[in-house]
C-alpha cells in the first residue's frame, strides 16, 4: 500500500526555466570573479555620496531627538535609522549599520504618540557620528560602543514595558 496521503488540490508547475533560456545556460559559469570585481568597483564609486547621505541622516536624527515635545519625530527618526541600516554596511561601515539596527528596533514598535527616549536617541546618534568619522578603526572601542548601545536600548525598552525583539 502506498504511504501517499490523499492530497488537497494542489497544482505543481515545473520549474520556470525562462531565465536560463535567456541567459543561455548556467549563470554561475558566466558571472565570473571579474564581473564581481567590476560590480564592487561600480559600487565603490557611489561610496562617498552615500556616506554623505548617511551623515546627513545622522545629523537629522540628532536634531529630531532634541525636539520638544519628545516623540513628535519618531517617524522621521525611524526613516533615517532604516536608511543608515540599509546603506552603511554596504560601504564597509558594518558597526554603523548595527547601531542603526538597534535604533530601528527601538523606534519600530514604539506605540503611536508615545514619547521617545531622547537620551537614548542622542546616545545612538553620537555613537553613529563617532563611527562615521572613522571611529570604527578601533575594533575594541567599536565593540564597546555596540555593547553600550545595545544595553541602553534594552534598558529603555524595559522601562517602556517592551523588550528587544529576537
Amino acid at each position: 500500500m502506498s504511504d501517499r496521503v490523499q492530497p488537497t488540490p494542489v497544482q505543481v508547475l515545473p520549474p520556470n526555466l525562462d531565465l536560463q533560456r535567456k541567459v543561455g545556460g548556467s549563470l554561475a559559469k558566466q558571472l565570473t570573479t571579474a564581473v564581481l570585481a567590476a560590480a564592487e568597483a561600480a559600487l565603490a564609486r557611489h561610496g562617498a555620496e552615500m556616506m554623505s547621505e548617511v551623515n546627513a541622516a545622522i545629523a537629522r536624527i540628532q536634531v529630531q531627538s532634541m525636539l520638544r515635545p519628545p516623540g513628535t519625530a519618531a517617524a522621521t527618526i525611524a526613516q533615517d535609522a532604516h536608511f543608515i541600516r540599509s546603506i552603511a554596511g554596504t560601504f564597509g561601515r558594518g558597526p554603523m549599520g548595527q547601531i542603526a539596527d538597534l535604533l530601528c528596533r527601538y523606534v519600530d514598535d514604539l506605540p503611536a504618540g508615545a514619547p521617545i527616549d531622547a537620551n537614548l536617541v542622542t546616545l545612538m546618534a553620537v555613537a553613529l557620528k563617532h563611527l562615521a568619522q572613522g571611529g570604527s578603526c578601533d575594533p575594541e572601542l567599536t565593540e564597546d560602543l555596540l555593547t553600550e548601545c545595545r544595553e541602553a536600548v534594552v534598558v529603555s525598552l524595559g522601562r517602556e514595558g517592551r523588550s528587544l525583539p529576537a
Binding site: 496521503v5 492530497p7 520556470n16 536560463q20 541567459v23 543561455g24 564581473v35 560590480a39 561600480a42 536608511f83
Partner: protein, 175 residues
Amino acid sequence: MAIGLGGVSALVVDDCAHMRRIVCTLLRSFGIRDLREAGSGEEGLEETFARQPDVIVTDLRMPGMDGVEFVRRLRRTARPGHRRDVPVIMMTAYSERSKVEIARDGGLTEVVAKPLTSQALMSRLIMVCDRPRPFIIAGGYVGPCRRRRALRDYSGPLRREADGTDWSVVEFGDV
C-alpha cells in the same frame, strides 16, 4: 542564443531611492540592461503586470504595501500574460530575520540580507537562474516549492502530487 544577462529584464522595488540605485548599479554591472524601478509595493505590482520582468528584487520593509504583501499579491493574481512564478529576491535587514519566515510563506524565491554585497546578490541571482524550483499553487500557498532539497532519509508522509518526481534531473532544455 543570447549569452549573459543582457537580454534579461529586472524590476527593483524599494521606497529608498538610494537603495534602488545601489541595487541597479549591481544588476547593471552583472549585465542586466533592462532595469525598471518602483518606489512602492503598489507601483511594483503595476510595473510587474505591465512589463513582466524576468526577475524582481524587492525590499521587505516599505511603507504602505510591504514586500511580503507585494509578493503575496503578485503570486495570487491570475491574469492573462502574468507569470506568477517570476523569481523574487527579497532584501531584509538584521533584525527583520524573524519576518523571513512570514515572507517565505508569502511566496518569495530567495532572501538576501542587508547590508547588501555584490557577492550576495550575485549568488541569489545564480540560485534563481540555475536552480529554479517547482511552483506550487494551493489554497494556502502560492509560490516556489519550499523544499530546497530532497531529504533522502525522510520517512514522513508524502502529501504532494509531485512527490516522486526528481526535479533535480530536469535540466535546461529538457522542459
